[in-house]
Assembly symmetry: C2
Homo-oligomer: 444 residues x 2
């Protein structure tokens, strides 16, 4: 006998977890498609050199890799960005630009599970490749906005910034060569506090204390988007990079509003600076107003050259990634997920064992009306069947025995209230369908 178990860091998704997960994925697909992003998929296994080409030491260490049957060194993808870079180098010359794709797929990392991380998780990315246009910056923000609303969130904040503005400031301070070190220190502000960030900038970036203070003052700017933009202008001074970043950001914000997004949904926040040197233009992070501490649930930004490791063709782009697992955890905490273990709302009980075909037919009629229905497979005691229905989270149970069939009707039991109602099956069960639709449309 083999012990049935999953590997550490891996998990089974039971129906209760998988039903909201599939709903979330379907919503993301719908929103991505509505903007013209097309689905792609790439292999889970890639040549190891493809995966380690750009990887950091950390991802290399976490990589699942081995030799395949043909003695090739192969690895399991650890994100969807490296496969996109490889894919773009290989196919974009033929597919043409702009190329907009989404990719929803599993990735693997041999992470330390003690930090509550899983070794297998799903990523949910969308990117626009081959354009530097502000139109793509605006649409990336709009996708994030529509996605959050489609998922049922109405209180969220998309924080936006542009890396060029910080670069502009660093130019005026002659620290542009040290931007990675400055950003790394700045990133720790919430964790280690003002003084230690200053100290780190002095130590690692070679800034003097006044310069470091100026970077922190910059990162601490507050006010309305326009107020912040106005304060930024003198700070970046004559830096063309910085002024260009401000102009792009202003146009991006205006474009997002032109599309109908409420102004409070998008906030300029010069303190966000994700990705160190990966992102080069606009940056997005998305926080739930009711659960800000869970972190950003949708993040991304603009980059200059996606596939430099694989091709000489320069492929600028912009994209973002929905944090599926983080969002599901948030939805659970905010009680946005009903504990349902069945995707069908109606259970047809099996009462009279001579009547199986009648139950099967009844379920078929219900399904034809677009309402999911399961037939309980065995003529067990009714109490046992109703207990099963309750446990699975069915909404309604249909019950019919000799008397009901003789009268061409059935009982509809609302499992939320326990109340039953007798409904006619005449005229292709029109009354039944109407009653089921009414029950399912209403909270009892």
């Amino acid at each position: 006998m083999i012990t049935p178990r999953t590997l550490k860091g891996f998990r089974d998704y039971l129906p209760e977890a998988m039903i909201p997960r599939e709903r979330l994925i379907a919503t993301a697909q719908r929103v991505y498609r509505s903007y013209g992003f097309a689905p792609i998929d790439t292999p889970a296994l890639e040549y190891l050199e493809v995966l380690t080409g750009k990887g950091s030491d950390e991802t290399d260490r976490q990589l699942y890799h081995f030799q395949d049957h043909g003695k090739r060194d192969v690895g399991l993808r650890f994100d969807l960005t490296v496969p996109l870079a490889r894919f773009a180098a290989q196919h974009v010359p033929k597919l043409g630009t702009p190329f907009r794709r989404y990719h929803i797929a599993t990735v693997w990392r041999g992470e330390n599970t003690q930090r509550g991380r899983y070794r297998e998780f799903m990523q949910c990315d969308f990117d626009t490749i081959g354009t530097k246009s502000i139109a793509a910056d605006i649409e990336t923000g709009l996708v994030i906005h529509d996605l959050m609303q489609a998922l049922g969130f109405f209180e969220f904040t998309i924080r936006i910034n542009n890396r060029a503005i910080l670069n502009g400031l660093l130019e005026t301070l002659s620290l542009q060569e040290k931007s990675v070190q400055v950003l790394r220190a700045l990133d720790k502000l919430a964790k280690i506090g003002h003084e230690k960030v200053i100290a780190e900038m002095v130590e690692t970036a070679g800034a003097d204390a006044a310069q470091a203070e100026r970077v922190l003052a910059f990162a601490g700017l507050q006010g309305t988007n326009e107020e912040i933009l106005k304060q930024l202008e003198p700070l970046v001074g004559a830096s063309g990079t910085g002024q260009d970043g401000i102009a792009r950001l202003r146009e991006t914000l205006a474009g997002i509003q032109a599309a109908g997004v409420a102004p409070q949904r998008v906030c300029l926040d010069v303190s966000i600076a994700r990705g160190l040197d990966y992102y080069t233009g606009v940056i997005f992070e998305t926080f739930l107003d009711q659960l800000p501490t869970i972190g950003s649930v949708c993040s991304g930004g603009r980059y200059d050259n996606l596939a430099g490791l694989f091709t000489k063709q320069e492929l600028p782009g912009i994209g973002a990634s929905l944090g599926l697992d983080r969002l599901l955890a948030a939805m659970e905490e905010l009680k946005m997920i009903e504990p349902v273990r069945t995707p069908a709302p109606v259970l047809v009980t099996f009462f009279d064992k001579q009547r199986l075909h009648d139950y099967v037919k009844l379920a078929a009629i219900v399904r034809k009306a677009g309402i999911g229905a399961e037939v309980f497979p065995d003529p067990k005691r009714l109490g046992q069947q109703l207990k099963y229905a309750d446990g699975r989270g069915f909404t309604l149970a249909l019950i019919a025995g000799e008397d009901e069939f003789a009268a061409n009707c059935c009982q509809v039991k609302d499992l939320r209230t326990g109340q039953s109602q007798q409904v006619s099956l005449a005229d292709d069960a029109a009354d039944l369908i109407g009653h089921l639709q009414a029950c399912l449309a209403n909270e009892p």
Copy 2:
């Protein structure tokens, strides 16, 4: 520079392939859910012992396996049945029965690619665990039927059989201990012909020639379902197993018809005997009437004990698997798939570079009406934008310049016919939305 390439036997799915693939998956999900099957997922990586526990020599040889960072022997799943067995042993005691799940996920096999096989492919299974009821036999047939129709197939045949009938015949011939050998020979009938099958049965199953002829006569029975059932009765004679199999099959066929399935969709075919000793009751195979040679596109059947390797709890069940890749190949051959590389039907061209926000707003209005729209990101020549729209398979292009904006209208160009029409943008673009909906509803 690293060569961008995929491993042998692996492939990228470009939008043109992925769009119909996602549509097919969504359809399968919808049909499975309508019968109360709930989604689950399991890890791609499992303990090696879980995967090799029941595997044949062939699957063991094809298994991708390695040692993980913790020196555990692990492997990539090669099907969804072994993970289901492990999952059922682990969770069904808590989840209860009947347990109905579907599982749509990738599997990996280091197959010989010269046979046109891929090393990574998707399976699309549904199963009902924990019941021996005929209700589940009937519903499995109904799911297959509804699935095929939902996918757009109206000329298909579900071939049905019950392993108990053949076992009954073998009982009457005292060959029941040799059923695997008999079935293995019978399986080759189409390939090697009558004489060689007889020879193999004599050689491997210890049958005499008369017995082998009787098995072949049995497998060659033809006629309506009822005619075949009538001929089967004397053939299985006093065998309780056989008579029970006939009775179950008769009730299954009647139940499927009671749910409204056209009689010609389900044909009794005593020659199908898939899975050798894995299946124990009803068996299903599904053939496209226009492309029978492509093989069964949805197959499955009933089994006695799913998880015997992992638990003492006996878990009988029934399920089937949709052949996703085979079906997509068939749909392509039958010209059921449009060559579309965008999921959004409308391209908003970018004509006047001062007007970006107006284009973004126009696209937002179109999307709000539920119609997908992409904004071309750069103000390139209109001809170039329309060429892009054609190449991607957009249906309609919106064109607006200074004159149109001054008149509060835009041009809608139907890319299928090349014809343009000017439409008003007044009243929240009500005319535009109506026109777009009309265009998209009609073939030009």
